[in-house]
Structures are given as structure tokens and as C-alpha cells.
């Protein structure tokens, strides 16, 4: 294909680097420096999409972030598909593959287009709220069809092969936008010594200067851009980020920049290189120089391909050497529109006429028009367009001075392109993200950023400085202000000189009148992507949806992927007129991040796949892996769940581990338990306040189990705390609760009781903990230590320092299995050594490693709770039958004491934790089963409590369970029923939660 709209010279493309790309399966050519949009236009591609609601043919209308129509699917492979790429923002690369996101079977012959034509009139805003209601049962069917029309592009269905990096940045001044104002600001700030980041969303920095006809210091604007960029590039404290959109402005000057590192190079990023990078920036000062978006005029059939904004036309001609048509009509309300005509004309194509809504136009631009002999029609506007897949002609008529009525006859001009300009809307979006509301300036007919509490300055077109000179000066002023605030010197910076320009004020024209009322006029589109028309907005107001937010939500104005950059102000103006209000009275909707869409991948960064969340390992982890352990996630920890031998099922492995432990000796890696070193003169007092039981008399060398409750009296953690010395304790917590418990302790210490002298230090990671449990545990340990392990020398619930396998250790005689147990703690660097030493000596005792599952079974046989499994934040110690762990004798009203005696907490019919014995001992109740007293009661059936723990006990050769039963402590021996999901009902007896060795004889040996 030839690039029939490409000029032979000019533009900023690299003609020595031709590129091939594929659009709808057909290969086209373009050049390095093209966007996909400019390349498509160069090749004469008019129709790039079908609209969402009416399926109307749509062409490219803009040249930047505001483009609503050119939304395409790109990607050469399944894994590299990207939906909804704006063709105007996608740099062209060799081999780019793009497809339209709409149109079936094709863009030209779209079936829905036919439906749209016929049924379009029956689809006013909100039509679905008014229909599809009958019969009720049909909605899900209707919805299926509605959903079929949903979406623009499609998600890939293969995993993303690319990397997305994320980096933290800090700077003195972040300049957003590298047009004249931004470049000037960055230059001055850099010269003043500030650390500067300047980011610009476009493929190339320079903004409006890249398509400007003005001379700076007598030379082309692009020369000035190049010189500034060269200086900034040299500066060590300046970071230039082209192809980088500042997409969100968050509180306290935290902004995110979405840098597209390789999107312009290839379908996927080169190995090791990130495709995109998200910069998380904390800036002392932010200078917004985000420019402005040109507003198209709203007129009949203004969506026919060939209708564009004036600035887009100029961009394509000046930057890309592309003239997207042959015969141009310009319709404008301001001087800005004239440049398109000049550019078009100078490119050697025909300008049919410039239609200016103003009368008696006098400006530099108008003079330039006259010099070229281009027809100027004043006091008029384009009312309507003829054509379906390309503009064929326009209807032009004279309108009144308020731009509200057609006052003259309609004439037709033959053309294939219509460029319109309704003035410029400052890109206030970022300024609004932190809650600042924009303010209306009638002199520039636009909203500018409002007041803010952020350290933010605004410059350039964003504050209505639409001239290059004004933009440069305001950029410099902003930089000066920032430097002064930063106490940095303000450097000498000379603003380049420009030829004086005479400008005539713009006319406020948003909605071009038609000879017919809006409701009957041809469709006048305000928001292209969602097919929102002027008539739709007026209807919305008539129906009572008057607030601009209601208008937005009812009509979908601004809801597209362009988020209304093109249409919002026009929509507000139409709303204002419909309601007889001023635009500032109507106000704006709230702009929110993102400024333009950002890949999920970029926001996720590297926190995905293997790095999604840390995996925490104990010192013995490699051993567990080598022995084929299955692992359980407990918090971030990887804990061995069970150790299956070849061919074993989980149940078989757990049964074997349980029996081995009770008959000989088992070993558990308990390193993950939280461990807190507590010392100080008031450590004992402190423990007494945070635990429910008493600590005053715990002697050095002794250990005690404790329950922790919140102020509400509800159990939230438990563990054994050992007295290392009179003022020195070691507390253990649950695995998942470790961090929270330490912070909770510190909270009380630092904010409630700072007078208590106590220091707390986490030692969780320092210790490797291995528990050997079972009748042979003493013998086994005896083989590795010289210490006296006899019951007399080393009684239950005590600890001793000793050397184990050549390593100094703290050994605790505490037990969570009810067996004779020794919990060996060694510095984790020696954990694996000691663990392996135990196994070296353990063979004669059939030392059996066991995991969390066996631990759960063994403790359940003994009726020990697991905080978090048997408790859920609504259970106090008495509910658990653990009143023995609550001391009401303590002088201090410990945390939880008051809470557990509130009116509701002392009800006799509270759910209480008991043992549950199924009548059929072979039935293992599912954990989570809900108990009832009357299984025949109607639904909703009164429930009396649920099963918290339930296992097959190989040692007892029956099932065991624990759970809550209303008033359970007084119902021993009574029956409770468990209706299960499969319809069966399990009958069970309420019993003590202790199933094995209630006297504790096995551990007191």
C-alpha cells in the first residue's frame, strides 16, 4: 500500500526507517516516529472503529490522549495482546499488529450498525432502565445478549511474558508536561540546583512546540526544544522521562508516572528489560504544565470519519508529514483553528473555507489566511455533515451572536475533512486528584486548577496561557516560585523571543445550533465513545437528572476510556444551557486517576508470581523439602503439613505420625512460633497486665501457659512464657499472631504504661525450635546432652540451658501433645545441625517427623485449643472452659478482665467449647459443621454452635471433635445433631474436650 496521504518532506518522522505494520490483516507501511494513528491516516485508513451503542463508523479525531475513537487491539501473539490501545499514543514499530475492537463481521459492514440505524432512536439514555423488565425471569437472558455487545478490546488469555518494574523516586521539583511551559520550568529549576524530574506522555518531548509554526529566537521551535533537552540531559540532577504519563496525583505530593519503556520498540520487551515502569514519586514541589485539550464543536453527524479537531490536523501535518484528506473545511470559534488551515494549505492541499463563528475577525492568524487567499466565512458554523464512512460535504449557516440559533440560509460545501475548534480546555485532571475543585475562567472559556493544599504550581496552557510566549513565561515563573520555596538560588534564565501575535478573543461556542430542535436534529455527538449526544444530555435534564453527576451517570458522558477529555466541557455547557444555569454553577464532575489507562502489570510491578508475597522459611526447611514434606501456608510461613512416605495418603501419613509420637517419639519444627524477649524490673508486672493469669510468683526456670484477651475479654492469642530470670522472660505467641502481639504489647507499654520499665525484643527469627515428643523423647535427648533430664531435675513446665549436639540450647519441658516433650531451642544458624543430629540418634526410636496436621490431632486428643481455629474473636476464656487461666486475684485489672463480665458475656446460654463424640465412632465430622438440638426443626433451623476441630484419632481408634454448643458446659452427655450438606445428620454426644489422658499422666513423667 502506498502512503497516499504522506507528504514527501517535513514532519519529525525518520523517512530512512520505514516500518511495516499490520492492520486488520493487511500490511501497511509507515516510518519510525509515526504513531499508529498517523501511519493509518498516511495510508488513507478512514474507519478505525464502530461506536459502542449505535455502531456508527468512526475515524481518528484527535492526535493525543483525548482520542476517543481510535481504540484498537494490538499484539502479534496471544500472550502479547493489549486491549484498547489508543492509536494516537502508540508508537509504530516494525511488525506491529493491530485490529479494530469493534465491528462485526467487519468495520464496513457492521450488522449492529444496521440495528443502530433502525433501533438507535429507541435507545435514549437510560433506555435499559426502562425495559427488559418483563417477565422477571427473562432478565438474565436479556442480559446475556446485552453482555455480548460489551467491551472494546479483549483480554489476552495467556500469561503476560513481560516484566513490569516499579521504582521509588524523590525530587525537589516534578514537572509534568514537556511543552513550552514545562521545558522552561525544568530548565530553570535545574539551573537553580533542584533535583528535577520532567515527564511527558508523548513519544517525544516538546509538546505544542513540535507542531508550532512560530520561531523562537529566530529559529524553529524544535531547535529550541532540542537545545533545552540537551542541557537537561547533561544535568546530573535531572531525570527526563519521555513516553511517561503522570497518571495519578495523590496526597502529599505523591505521584505515579507510567513509563512505557519498550512499547514503541516491539510487541514484547527484550529479555531482562521491563516493558513498562511505574515511578512512585514523592516530590517537594510539583509544577503542572499539562497543557490543554482542544474542544471539537458539537454539530450534526460530527462523528463521521473525516471530522477532526484542528490541532489534530496540524499535528498530523507538522509532526508526521501526513495530510489526512484532500479538501478541508475548518469551523472554529477562536484563532487556534486557523493553523490547521494554514498547515493544510501549505502542504499543498485544498482548504475549502474557514468558517469562524465570530464576526469581524481581526488577528495575526486571519491575516495569514488572507495572505494565502483562503476563503473566510464569518459569523457562521458547520451545522451538519453528510457522509457515512467519510465526510462528503458540510452544511454551513450563519448563526446569531450568542451562537444559539441559525439565522441564515444553509449552504453546502463539498469537502472530505472537517476540522473544528471550540477553544481549549486546560488539562486540569491531575490537579483534581487530591480533591481540589477546578474554577471557571470566563476569559479563557475553560476550567483552570483550583486552590490546593499541596505544594503545587501550575503553568502554561493549564492556566490559560495559550500563547507560546505566555506558556514560556509562566513556566519560568513557576520554577522561580518553587526554587524560592526550596531556598534555592534563582538562576538567570532568558526566555526566547517570539514574534508578536495578535489574538482575538474566542467565542463561547460549545453546541452548534441546528435548524431543528436538538431532539430532532441529526445526532450531535458530545462523547464519542459512549455515543452521548446533545439531545441525550438535554433529555437527561428534562427527566430530572440535572446534577452534572447525574447527567454523567445517566448518559455515560465521560465514562469512556478517554474519560471525557474531549467532550466533558461541551457536555457541561449543554447541561448548563438546558438548565438555564452558568457553567460554573453546573460545575464539573470529579476527575480521578488515571489520567490515561495504565496496565495492571505496571501497577503490580514485581509483586507477582514468585514475588507476590514473601515465603518465610525455618532453618530446617531444606530438610523438610528433601524428605518430601507437604507444606501448609501459615501466615507467610511455609510449615510442614505432613511427611508422606512413598505411596502414603495424607490420612495414612498423619495416622502413622500420630501413633509414632504417642508410642515412641515424634519431632515437630516449631520455629515459626513468635518469640519475644521481655526484660526489665517491671516485666513481671507487665505480663500480669497483658495475660489473664498470674505471673507474680513464676520462679526462674519455670514456664507457664497464658491467654491473651482484648479489652473486650475475647481471646486473641496464647502461648507459653518462661521465666529466664527474675526480671527476664521469653514469651511465645502463635505463628500468625507474632507481629501483632508484639505491636500490641508495645502499644500498651508506650501509650498506657510508659512508667513500666520493660524492653521487648522479637527473637522469633533467632531461634530454631524443635519439639521432640513422646515416651522416648527423654532417651533421645539424653543421647545428645549431658544434662540431667530426670523428672526430678527437669520437671514438667520448666526450662534449662544445656548443650544439645554440641550446641548451647534452651530446652523447655512443655508439651502441646500431652506426651513427655522437650522443646529444644538453638540459635537458628545451628538449627539444621541439631535437627540432623537428632535424626542421627533417632533411628532406634523410630524418630518420626510430623507436621502441623499431626500436631493438630495430638493437641485435639488432649483438648488444647488453637487460637484462631477454636477461637474467632467472639470467645472468652470461660467460653473455652479455661477459667483456670483467668486470675481475678491480681491487683491490676488486666486486659480483658472487665470485658469478659459484660452483660452479654455472662449469659448462661453462651456457646461454650466442649468435646463432641459422634455416636458412630467411624464418622469424622467436617470442621465447620453446625450443630442443632432439633434436626427436624424448620428452616431457618436454630443453630447451637459449630465444630472447630475434628479429626480421626488413630490413637483412640475413633473420631474426635471439639466445638461450640450453647450452654455446652452444662450439657455433658446430651445429644447434638449435625445436619450436613449432603443431607445426612450426624448424631453426637457432648463431652469433655479432653479425649486422652485427662489426668496428664503421660506428660508428668
Amino acid at each position: 500500500m502506498t502512503q497516499l496521504n504522506r507528504l514527501s518532506t517535513g514532519g519529525r518522522i525518520n523517512r530512512s526507517k520505514p516500518l511495516r505494520f499490520t492492520w486488520r490483516g493487511q500490511v501497511y507501511s509507515g516510518y519510525e516516529g509515526d504513531t499508529l494513528a498517523s501511519a493509518l491516516l498516511a495510508n488513507g485508513v478512514d474507519v478505525v472503529a464502530r461506536s459502542f451503542k449505535y455502531s456508527r463508523p468512526r475515524g481518528i479525531i484527535a492526535a493525543g490522549a483525548e482520542e476517543p475513537n481510535g481504540i484498537v487491539q494490538i499484539g502479534a501473539t496471544e500472550a502479547t495482546q493489549v486491549p484498547n490501545v489508543r492509536a494516537t499514543q502508540q508508537g509504530l514499530y516494525e511488525g506491529l499488529v493491530a485490529e479494530p475492537t469493534s465491528g462485526w463481521p467487519s468495520l464496513e459492514y457492521d450488522l449492529m450498525g444496521a440495528v443502530g440505524k433502525v433501533a438507535g432512536s429507541a435507545m435514549p439514555p437510560g433506555f435499559y432502565y426502562k425495559t427488559f423488565m418483563f417477565p422477571e425471569s427473562m432478565w438474565m437472558t436479556y442480559e446475556k445478549f446485552i453482555r455480548r455487545a460489551a467491551g472494546l478490546g479483549r483480554s489476552p488469555i495467556a500469561p503476560d511474558p513481560d516484566r513490569y518494574e516499579k521504582t521509588h523516586q524523590h525530587c525537589d521539583v516534578l514537572v509534568v508536561g514537556a511543552g513550552p511551559a514545562g521545558l522552561m520550568a525544568a530548565l530553570a529549576a535545574a539551573r537553580g540546583g533542584a533535583r528535577v524530574i520532567i515527564a511527558d506522555e508523548q513519544e517525544e518531548m516538546g509538546g505544542s512546540l513540535l507542531a508550532s509554526r512560530e520561531l523562537l529566537d529566530g529559529g524553529p521551535a524544535t531547535d529550541w526544544v532540542a537545545s533545552v533537552l540537551a542541557e537537561l540531559n547533561e544535568h546530573p540532577e535531572v531525570l527526563l522521562l519521555p513516553k511517561s504519563t503522570v497518571n495519578g496525583y495523590h496526597d502529599h505530593n505523591f505521584l505515579t508516572i507510567h513509563e512505557r519503556c519498550t512499547d514503541h520498540l516491539a510487541d514484547r520487551a527484550p529479555d531482562t528489560q521491563p516493558r513498562q515502569r511505574l515511578h512512585r514519586v514523592r516530590a517537594e514541589w510539583v509544577i503542572l504544565a499539562t497543557g490543554a485539550h482542544e474542544r471539537p464543536l458539537v454539530y450534526g453527524n460530527n462523528d463521521v470519519p473525516g471530522c477532526m479537531t484542528c490541532s489534530a490536523v496540524s499535528s498530523y501535518v507538522q509532526r508526521y508529514g501526513v495530510v489526512p484528506g484532500n479538501r478541508l473545511v475548518v469551523s472554529t470559534s477562536n484563532d487556534g483553528g486557523y493553523q490547521a488551515a494554514l498547515d493544510w494549505h501549505d502542504a499543498g492541499r485544498r482548504v475549502v473555507a474557514v468558517i469562524d463563528a465570530r464576526r469581524q475577525v481581526a488577528s495575526t492568524m486571519a491575516d495569514a489566511l488572507k495572505d494565502r487567499g483562503i476563503t473566510l466565512i464569518e459569523g457562521s458554523a458547520v451545522l451538519n455533515v453528510a457522509g457515512s464512512t467519510r465526510v462528503q460535504s458540510v452544511e454551513v449557516a450563519r448563526i446569531d451572536a450568542d451562537a444559539h440559533q441559525v439565522i441564515g440560509p444553509v449552504q453546502t460545501l463539498v469537502c472530505d475533512t472537517v476540522a473544528t475548534s471550540g477553544g481549549w480546555s486546560p488539562a486540569v485532571h491531575l490537579s483534581c486528584h487530591t480533591g481540589s475543585r477546578p474554577t471557571w475562567r470566563s476569559d479563557i472559556i475553560g476550567f483552570v486548577p483550583g486552590a490546593t493544599h499541596e505544594q503545587r504550581l501550575d503553568a502554561g496552557a493549564l492556566v490559560g496561557e495559550f500563547s507560546t510566549e505566555g506558556a514560556l513565561n509562566s513556566g519560568l515563573a513557576a520554577a522561580r516560585q518553587a526554587l524560592q520555596a526550596l531556598s534555592m538560588s534563582v538562576p538567570e534564565v532568558v526566555v526566547p523571543t517570539l514574534a508578536p501575535v495578535e489574538i482575538m478573543p474566542a467565542l463561547a461556542l460549545f453546541h452548534v445550533p441546528h435548524t431543528l430542535p436538538t431532539s430532532r436534529a441529526p445526532k450531535q455527538f458530545v462523547d464519542y465513545q459512549n455515543d452521548v449526544t446533545a439531545a441525550g444530555i438535554e433529555l437527561s435534564c428534562r427527566e430530572g437528572f440535572e446534577s452534572i453527576e447525574h447527567v454523567k451517570r445517566y448518559t455515560a458522558l465521560g465514562f469512556g476510556t478517554d474519560q471525557g477529555k474531549l467532550g466533558n466541557i461541551n457536555g457541561m455547557a449543554i447541561t448548563a444551557r438546558a438548565r438555564g444555569m452558568s457553567i460554573p454553577e453546573v460545575g464539573t464532575t470529579v476527575f480521578r486517576p488515571n489520567y490515561t489507562p495504565v496496565s495492571f502489570g505496571a501497577i503490580v510491578g514485581r509483586d507477582c508470581g514468585p514475588l507476590f508475597d514473601p515465603k518465610r522459611y525455618t532453618a530446617m526447611h531444606e530438610w523438610h523439602v528433601s524428605k518430601g514434606a507437604a507444606f501448609e501456608d501459615v501466615g507467610q510461613w511455609k510449615r510442614p503439613w505432613y511427611f508422606p512416605k512413598a505411596g502414603e495418603t495424607m490420612a495414612q501419613a498423619v495416622n502413622r505420625e500420630c501413633v509414632a509420637t504417642r508410642t515412641s517419639v515424634g519431632i515437630l519444627d516449631a520455629s515459626t512460633l513468635g518469640k519475644i524477649d521481655i526484660q526489665g524490673p517491671d516485666a513481671r508486672e507487665f505480663l500480669g497486665r497483658v495475660y489473664t493469669n498470674a505471673w507474680a510468683k513464676l520462679a526462674p526456670g519455670r514456664c507457664r501457659y497464658g491467654l491473651m484477651c482484648g479489652e473486650d475479654g475475647m481471646v486473641f492469642d496464647d502461648g507459653v512464657t518462661s521465666c529466664l530470670a527474675d526480671q527476664h522472660f521469653l514469651m511465645t505467641t502463635t505463628t500468625g499472631g507474632a507481629a501483632g502481639v508484639l505491636e500490641w504489647l508495645e502499644f500498651y507499654h508506650q501509650t498506657e504504661w510508659p512508667e513500666l520499665q520493660v524492653y521487648m525484643t522479637s527473637v522469633t527469627d533467632h531461634w530454631a525450635t524443635m519439639t521432640i515428643s513422646g515416651p522416648n523423647s527423654r532417651k533421645l535427648l539424653g543421647e545428645l546432652t549431658d544434662a540431667d533430664l530426670s523428672a526430678e531435675a527437669f520437671p514438667f513446665m520448666s526450662w534449662q540451658p544445656m548443650t544439645v549436639a554440641g550446641v548451647p540450647a534452651r530446652v523447655f519441658r512443655i508439651s502441646f501433645t500431652g506426651e513427655l516433650s522437650f522443646e529444644i531451642n538453638v540459635p537458628a544458624n545451628y538449627g539444621l545441625h541439631v535437627w540432623e543430629a537428632l535424626f542421627e540418634r533417632g533411628a532406634p526410636y523410630d524418630l518420626t517427623p510430623y507436621g502441623t496436621e499431626t500436631m493438630h490431632v495430638l493437641r485435639a486428643e488432649k483438648g488444647f485449643i488453637i487460637a484462631g481455629q477454636d477461637t474467632d474473636g467472639s470467645v472468652h476464656p470461660h467460653d473455652l472452659g479455661m477459667g483456670w487461666a483467668v486470675s481475678n486475684q491480681k491487683p491490676f485489672s488486666f486486659i480483658g478482665k472487665r470485658g469478659m463480665v459484660r452483660a452479654d458475656c455472662v449469659r448462661p446460654d453462651r456457646k461454650q467449647w466442649v468435646g463432641i463424640k459422634t455416636r458412630d465412632p467411624s464418622v469424622v465430622l467436617p470442621e465447620g459443621a453446625q450443630g442443632v438440638f432439633d434436626p427436624n426443626a424448620p428452616i431457618p433451623m436454630p443453630m447451637v454452635g459449630h465444630i472447630t476441630s475434628s479429626y480421626w484419632s488413630a490413637n483412640l481408634n475413633r473420631s474426635i471433635a471439639q466445638g461450640f454448643v450453647k450452654g455446652g458446659h452444662a450439657r455433658m452427655g446430651e445429644t447434638v445433631y449435625y445436619p450436613l450438606a449432603d443431607g445426612s445428620v450426624v448424631e453426637a454426644e457432648i463431652c469433655s474436650p479432653v479425649f486422652l489422658d485427662p489426668e496428664g499422666e503421660r506428660q508428668h513423667v
Binding site: P614, R616, Q727, T761, H766, P801, G806, P827
Partner: protein, 221 residues
């Protein structure tokens, strides 16, 4: 609050154990022993702009005391020869001892493992009043990250400002490291020390590898 005079320390504090006093032939094992840094050091490119090494099995001691207690700070200086760094985020170091400010009443002291027991004993003896010494040696390991792109790698890991102006050599911060945490100290322009918790060491090693992928990483031993 408490009336207990700490007259006899042994009575109130657990006796100090030489946890590194292991039998002959028993060797400690770093949390990253499975990585095999020695082998990697042979394999990674010599010209990579980022270098990483682990200083494993060091002695680490948490000290808690009152910086306004002149007797305590004097005792510390007498024992270590270093003034206790009481300014926030500061550190002091001698040839084999590093003392990092962690909190107004907390410091992390690192010494060669062989020196830990003696240091702990001497500090315990010298310090009077309410204080705490906790051996945390096995709970931590130390990375040293260096090279011309070290800062760029770290910027992907920690949220703090690493610019020389804000983060000069000697500064210490405890901060988030991706979804874990670390204590970060700048040694010189291009060299940083990261003290990380044992159970997160593998995650941080994976993250550092990943973060240096686009520049190239050399593992040193």
C-alpha cells in the same frame, strides 16, 4: 515504677550464654546457605554494575537502654570504645564493630561472631540500671550491595530517598523492603549494607536478583 534495685544482675537477667560456643566441628549455617554464593561467584559476570555479597554468621546484639542515662552511655563507650550513636538514624563503626541507631532506646550492634560473647559479657557487666541485651545473631543476615547501579536497584526495593544529600554514608534507616523490611546503612557512595531477618532472607535475595536483572549482577564471596 518498680522498687527492685537491680543489685545482682544475675538474679534478674538470664545468664549470658556463649551461643556461639559450639563444639568443634559444628558449623553454623546461613539462612542463604542453600543459595550457594561461592558457586554463583564463579558464574556471574565480572563486569556487572551491581555487586552483592552476604556477610553471614556475624554476631548481632540488640541493645536497649536510655540514651539520657549518662552512666549507661559512658559504660557503653568504655566497653566498645565507641560513642553510642544517639542521633536518630546515625551509626558508628570501628574496624570490627558497627553500632546502628534503630530507635531512641534501641541499637543494633554487629561484631564478628567470635567477639560477641565477650562483648555481651562486658556490656552486661558495665551497664547499670534498666537495660537489655539480646543476642539476635541467628535471626539476621547481612547483605552488601554495591556498584554503580546499586542505588537504582535499591530504589526498586525501599521507599526512602537514597540521594546523597538525604542519605549520606553512615546513615541508617529501618524501612520496608518490598513486602519485608530491612535495616539499611550506606557505607559509601555506591555501597550499602542491608541487615535482614533470617526468615525473609530468601525473599530479599530473590528480590535483589530480580531487581538487578536489567543491569546485571555479580555475586561476590
Amino acid at each position: 515504677m518498680s522498687d527492685n534495685p537491680a543489685s545482682s544482675k544475675e538474679q534478674y537477667k538470664a545468664p549470658i550464654t556463649d551461643w556461639t560456643g559450639v563444639a568443634d566441628g559444628v558449623t553454623g549455617r546461613s539462612p542463604l546457605a542453600h543459595v550457594g554464593f561461592d558457586e554463583l561467584a564463579q558464574m556471574t559476570p565480572s563486569d556487572a554494575p551491581v555487586q552483592l555479597r552476604e556477610y553471614a554468621l556475624k554476631g548481632h546484639l540488640t541493645l536497649r537502654c536510655n540514651p539520657e542515662d549518662a552512666a549507661q552511655t559512658a559504660a557503653f563507650e568504655a566497653v566498645t570504645g565507641l560513642a553510642l550513636p544517639t542521633a536518630p538514624l546515625s551509626s558508628v563503626a570501628s574496624s570490627d564493630t558497627t553500632v546502628r541507631w534503630i530507635a531512641p532506646d534501641e541499637w543494633l550492634i554487629s561484631v564478628p561472631a567470635s567477639a560477641l560473647f565477650s562483648l555481651q559479657q562486658r556490656l552486661q557487666d558495665a551497664l547499670t540500671g534498666h537495660c537489655a541485651l539480646v543476642d539476635v545473631s541467628s535471626g539476621l543476615t547481612v547483605f552488601e550491595l554495591s556498584g554503580e547501579r546499586a542505588v537504582d536497584v535499591l530504589k526498586k526495593c525501599v521507599p526512602v530517598d537514597l540521594h546523597q544529600r538525604h542519605f549520606p554514608a553512615g546513615k541508617v534507616v529501618s524501612t520496608g523492603f518490598a513486602k519485608a523490611s530491612c535495616t539499611l546503612r550506606r557505607l559509601n557512595d555506591e555501597t550499602f549494607e542491608l541487615v535482614v531477618r533470617r526468615s525473609f532472607a530468601d525473599y530479599i535475595w530473590l528480590w535483589l536478583q530480580d531487581a538487578s536483572l536489567e543491569y546485571g549482577l555479580r555475586v561476590e564471596n
